[in-house]
Symmetry: none
DNA sequence: ATGAATTTGTACGTATGTATA
DNA sequence: TTATACATACGTACAAATTCA
């Protein structure tokens, strides 16, 4: 039914666990169309045999991809390839709309505040770093190009060593993590995004022409490089009365 | 070090998988203070022996609780009980069709209200249907299986012709859109999801033991079948003070 | 600083259950 | 009814990280 396992021979690198290597390998095969969206993977035991690993390891790998929404499995049927809605490459690639990349290019972030801060307490916890670590902090309103009024406020925390990346930029029109990638040579491997309800802080309310304490949607993003190193941390406040974070979860 | 496994003897119910029963059991022991926040669980092999299951099953159970942020584990140290309410630790991360599927299986939706309503005004606009269209409406709190307190409240709007699908179900343990798919033969092709900040309505606050007007995260989902037909509309309210909608945009 | 003990992580094997086609 | 394929659950062994004597 599900056909052959194709050529799954692969030279496994060392260091990273086998099941993660398998997960990466399977995802490559999904990306290059070997396993198209909507199709069924070969069954677990076939994959195990083809890759020369145990079925247990295959299940660990599939479990990873299922947690990311890339695969779904049904008893008695098989494991289906789903549309990678939240895979960041698809959201950030040139041909997809609504991604952060396009978002950054269609808007302007006006830096109004620059200072060096220490991450403490709740901020440090949200950032996932030890309290006391220093960051270069920037903040300001973000406009749709040409608009008179900003529609949200951004805060950015950068490694102080990356300060030079933004020092000469009063108005940012591209995605900051792209600049960071260029400056460091590192690559953003993962973006962890949280969306929560919040009350609007004073400085945000001021820029957005609202009242402090108004309803707001607070989005935080942690940009992780290789080795889960935190490259950038960003916070975005949207007015709560007229903004919704929208996603489409398409299946097949 | 971490002491005895206490009296972990338990009569396992049938039906639900063993590892989920173990997860519920461990969580009870956390809730009642047997394993206080900050302490280490007995080591996996001790738990396995005490409960009369294999270490593999224990690990599956712990994995469940780790995904919910209730436990963290470190190699060479042990498995630590984390603060359950500690702010953004409780996160909702079902960001794909498969994620919603698994989410529904790990939780219980207790239907408390059933009535026929007409979509009007803002509701009709959010649903994207003409005002006056009739729907079968259900609502109630949603629990993590075994929990005493609900963590969110669900509202569901169904085509009245699909009423029989849920009429005999007091407690839902699967994804409703799956039942709808089975009943109609149609398939959910797309899920449009919005996340916004909101003030908590009265009936929601009541079930969640909060005050009306409290901060809330409101998620709405439109389940579209073939031809963009609206099969189901669902609203989910989370307490805003300790909940975040989490997405990981990974690139592997 | 070294090494032993501890504890989770990874990986293998095997068998049986259950939903689906 | 039968075959299929994932789900659950048992077992074993060793690796890797941490802690502590």
């Amino acid at each position: 039914m599900s056909g052959q396992a194709a050529d799954l021979t692969v030279a496994f690198a060392d260091g990273t666990p086998l099941y993660l290597q398998v997960a990466q390998h399977v995802q490559k095969l999904i990306d290059d169309g070997t396993y198209p969206v909507g199709s069924l993977l070969p069954r677990e035991s076939d994959l195990a045999e083809a890759l020369g690993v145990s079925r247990h390891t295959i299940r660990q790998a599939i479990s990873q991809l299922r947690q990311r929404g890339l695969l779904t499995a049904r008893k008695g049927v098989g494991t289906r390839v789903e549309a990678p809605q939240d895979d960041w490459r698809s959201r950030f690639s040139a041909n997809s709309r609504g991604g952060l990349f396009d978002f950054a290019r269609a808007t302007e972030l006006h830096f109004k505040t620059r200072k060096t801060v220490e991450a403490r307490g709740q901020i440090a916890a949200e950032m996932g770093v030890r309290p006391g670590r220093k960051f270069h902090y920037l903040s300001g309103p973000r406009y749709y190009a040409g608009d008179a009024k900003p529609f949200c406020v951004n805060e950015v925390y950068l490694d102080p060593r990356l300060r030079h990346v933004v020092d000469d930029i009063p108005i940012l029109r591209v995605a900051l993590f792209n600049l960071v990638e260029e400056a460091t040579g590192d690559r953003v491997m993962e973006i962890q995004q949280d969306v929560r309800a919040a009350y609007m802080p004073d400085h945000v309310a001021h820029w957005l022409d609202r009242e402090p304490g108004d309803l707001a949607l607070k989005m935080t993003r942690r940009y992780l490089g290789s080795g889960a190193r935190l490259l950038e941390y960003a916070v975005q406040y949207h007015p709560g009365d007229n903004f919704a974070y929208h996603t489409t979860l398409s299946s097949i």
